[in-house]
């Protein structure tokens, strides 16, 4: 009962934050017409808002029911696409210098999709979302590599983190139920480790890097990791990762605003 109230409150809070930022990003859009990044940011916010509203309506009207393929899935896919476009228009990334990272991102997205299918059994929805999620991850890593925000050692550590995460989550399908709790906890710890990494990175980039493009990249990296973590979790962990996601909304707006002010 309390978990339900907390989940609905968290979504409502996200809806309020999104509405406020949609309103102010609309004003930014009218003020800075030289660049297209705020247009995609506004599209991202409005799609995110509508997807949340749809999900909230469904959850209130049909609790304890899994949502079939609906407009929500298409809205979520469009949200990922416009978020990728926000990064793509803010940072002109070069795919040629990020081949290894791009392959890694696609593999990570494919493994995530396989895990989603394993958990939900919904092949069509998960493959559909997985494809768009892969594109978002690909855009994020290419822009990170182009902006040289992650060192070689950090890339290796990130690859190890992602591999360990996939291995831990995959293991929960095969191990005995007493060991499953242990693997689940390990998975959550790895997800939190990723969140800590991106928050520290974001802090350092905002402190040291004068270019707003770098800020867009790191905020989107944190947001993408938070989305990944949210999809892999349930209960209180889901709420925790959703709150990180909500935190990214003002940060995303501020980074885009800084980028357009510099033009």
């Amino acid at each position: 009962m309390y978990e339900k109230i907390f989940t609905i409150s968290a979504v409502l809070f996200q809806i309020v934050i999104l509405s406020i930022h949609l309103f102010i990003s609309g004003k930014t859009l009218r003020r800075y017409r030289k660049t297209i990044t705020p247009v995609f940011l506004s599209f991202t916010f409005v799609l995110w808002l509508f997807t949340d509203l749809y999900w909230l309506t469904f959850d209130l009207m049909r609790p304890e029911t899994r949502m079939p393929f609906a407009a929500n899935e298409i809205g979520e896919a469009a949200f990922f696409l416009t978020l990728a476009a926000t990064i793509g228009t803010g940072v002109s990334y070069d795919v040629r210098i990020a081949k290894k990272q791009a392959v890694g991102a696609v593999l990570f997205a494919a493994c995530n999709t396989a895990l989603w299918i394993g958990w939900s059994g919904e092949m069509l929805q998960d493959v559909f979302i997985g494809l768009v999620y892969g594109l978002l991850l690909y855009t994020v890593v290419c822009s990170l590599r182009t902006e040289q925000l992650v060192t070689a050692i950090e890339w290796v550590l990130l690859a190890l983190l992602c591999t360990a995460l996939i291995a831990t989550e995959a293991a929960t399908f095969f191990v005995a139920s007493n060991l499953k709790i242990m693997f689940d906890t390990a998975g959550y710890l790895l997800l939190v480790l990723g969140i800590v990494f991106w928050i520290v990175k974001l802090y350092l980039v905002w402190k040291n890097e004068p270019l707003a493009n770098s800020h867009i990249c790191t905020v989107c990296s944190l947001l993408t990791w938070a989305i990944t973590a949210k999809y892999m979790s349930e209960g209180n962990w889901y709420l925790f990762f959703m709150s990180i996601e909500t935190l990214c909304i003002p940060l995303l707006y501020l980074s885009v605003r800084k980028a357009v002010e510099n033009i």
Binding site: L47, F50, M61, A71, L81, T82, A85
Partner: protein, 207 residues
């Protein structure tokens, strides 16, 4: 069971005849009104097929799948017109409104033929809620396309974004009215409220 194709023919013939005597915006509106009705029938075919093929049930198909299919059916002819003829904003708006009005009118007629027209409240709900909802959803789509073009961001992401918005709005309406009580009251008033908000934004966009 109703013979939807017969109803469509009966409605289309006088409209096609009218088109010979009309020019400009009026002609465009009537053509799109007809296209809207055809889109509605095709949407019903596709939804019926998905219902039969997926086995998720008629009610769930109507609530969750139909908004996706119906918005796609309205979107495809408008996208063709938008991309191939690059019409001015006003012409695009007329086309979209014609499409939405045709879709809503044909759906309402089919619904009334199958359910009867004895109850005035039922007829009013169909007219003020479902009828307005189709116009609002297609108007949302077209406003998205106009914004996309005005800010020179005509890309796949933005077009899919505009389409998704109309699908989400339509889906939310269908979900709200799928059960009786407070949710259906919110659902039935949603199109009129959104129409008022959209009207304000449309005025802003034009100025």
């Amino acid at each position: 069971m109703i013979y939807a194709e017969n109803i469509l023919l009966c409605m289309i013939i006088p409209l096609v005849l009218t088109m010979f005597f009309l020019r400009g915006n009026a002609n465009r509106f009537v053509l799109n009104f007809i296209l809207g009705m055809v889109a509605c029938l095709l949407g019903a075919y596709v939804s019926g097929f998905i219902d039969a093929a997926s086995g998720i049930g008629t009610e769930d198909t109507a609530v969750f799948i139909s908004p996706v299919v119906e918005e796609m059916m309205k979107f495809l002819p408008l996208l063709f017109y938008f991309v191939m003829f690059a019409p001015e904003d006003d012409k695009l708006t007329h086309a979209a409104l014609g499409m939405g009005a045709g879709f809503a009118s044909y759906e309402n007629i089919c619904s009334m033929v199958s359910s009867g027209t004895e109850s005035l409240s039922f007829v009013l709900v169909r007219g003020l809620a479902v009828g307005v909802m189709h116009i609002v959803s297609v108007f949302t789509l077209i406003m998205g396309l106009i914004i996309v073009r005005r800010f020179k961001v005509l890309r796949l992401e933005s077009v899919i974004g505009a389409l998704s918005l109309s699908m989400l709005f339509h889906g939310m309406y269908n979900l709200l009215v799928s059960e009786t009580g407070i949710s259906s009251i919110i659902g039935f008033s949603l199109p009129m409220v959104t129409a008022a908000i959209l009207y304000y934004f449309y005025r802003q966009l034009r100025s």
